[in-house]
């Protein structure tokens, strides 16, 4: 990736995160400010290190990505952050949610769906590509276990995936991973050239 391409990518990620803010706020009916503290391309085999290691208990909200861009998007929340996220979504006092029960997971799935779709729609708009997110799957397990099938698939074709470390309303930390196949990534970068 050239510095120009990297710059264009950071730019679109930043716009995508703004859209996540806007859409999550609309969903909750309260402002939720989302920021990206770090955006990096990381080796596929070490993705789990960004969410506490392969054995860490996490919630992952997965969206399959198809259309002009093929790949996967996952929002990871390590368990304590997932509970904090539920409190944020339900406008509860911090510490109210204590269990990742079905209700909590369904709220997190919806938030992940709204966030992921907002992010992907921004990418689609900016790059004039058709990007179709799947319905969300919410998973609660070891980070490595959730990632392994994606890593297995991606290791055949790609070296790196995009990791966006995010913060929701300054209090909840999450990690968004975009795992595009290499052809899709090239297509995206090509389309993101700065406007003439």
């Amino acid at each position: 990736m050239t510095p120009d391409e990297h710059g264009a990518l950071l730019d679109v990620v930043s716009a995508g995160i703004d859209a996540v803010s806007k859409n999550l706020s609309a969903m909750v009916g309260q402002p939720i400010e989302v920021s990206a503290s770090a955006v990096s391309m990381v080796p596929v085999r070490s993705l789990a290190d960004f969410v506490g290691g392969p054995a860490a208990a996490v919630v992952g909200i997965y969206l399959g990505v198809s259309g002009d861009l093929q790949g996967h998007l996952i929002l990871f929340l390590v368990e304590p952050q997932a509970l904090k996220m539920a409190d944020l979504l339900w406008e509860n006092l911090p510490g109210t949610a204590t269990q990742l029960d079905a209700g909590t997971l369904s709220a997190l799935a919806e938030a992940g769906n709204v966030a992921g779709s907002a992010f992907l729609n921004t990418l689609a708009d900016r790059a004039s590509l058709v990007i179709v997110p799947s319905a969300p799957s919410v998973l609660m397990d070891m980070a490595g276990a959730i990632l392994s099938v994606l890593q297995a698939e991606l290791l055949l074709v790609a070296e790196e995936a995009m990791v966006i470390e995010t913060e929701f309303s300054g209090s909840v930390r999450g990690v968004m991973m975009l795992l595009p196949d290499p052809d899709s990534l090239s297509k995206l970068l090509l389309r993101l050239r700065p406007p003439a």
Partner: protein, 163 residues
């Protein structure tokens, strides 16, 4: 005596004859952990298999990455440390379908294919499979405790068991 944990990462293969070592595959999903221990010489090894078939290989891949090539590599390492193939106790864990991906390259269940490929590779090498904890839809962490040869599989919310 304190045990030293050695993490066996994606596609890696580690061997040991140190009784204070614990070899661990963390967070196995569709991947398979293969634990091999020779109770006579107390040599052990662990591989973290990601994919079934080395014909898929590209570039520099770890020796444990593919089921078909991981078994011969594991035997080589065991023998290099003075261990023997006869009497080798091999146990496997993993091969789950934690995340079912639709409409992608992974239409086929990689976990199930990995299990099948590991069994086939063991058959081919004429090594019996002593125990397994495979399949399902949840993650596993597998440990081989070199001091005892014990193999322990732990999960989130489904407890821990010895294979």
């Amino acid at each position: 005596m304190t045990n030293e944990t050695v993490a066996v990462g994606l596609g890696e293969l580690h061997s040991s004859k140190d009784s204070t070592t614990v070899l661990v595959c963390y967070g196995l999903g569709s991947c398979i952990g293969i634990a091999a221990f020779d109770p006579v010489t107390r040599v052990g090894a662990m591989a973290h298999v990601v994919l079934p078939d080395s014909s898929m290989a590209r570039g520099s891949d770890g020796r444990g990455k593919f089921a078909d090539s991981a078994i011969p590599a594991l035997l080589e390492e065991i023998q290099a440390l003075g261990g023997s193939k006869s009497g080798l106790v091999v146990k496997i864990a993993g091969g789950a379908q934690v995340l079912a991906i639709l409409g992608s390259r992974s239409k086929l269940d990689i976990g199930a294919r990995n299990i099948e490929a590991v069994r086939a590779a063991l058959d081919k090498a004429r090594i019996p499979l002593a125990a397994e904890d495979t399949g399902g839809n949840y993650g596993r962490t597998m440990q081989l405790v070199m001091g005892s040869g014990r193999v322990v599989v732990s999960t989130i919310g489904r407890g821990e068991k010895e294979l």
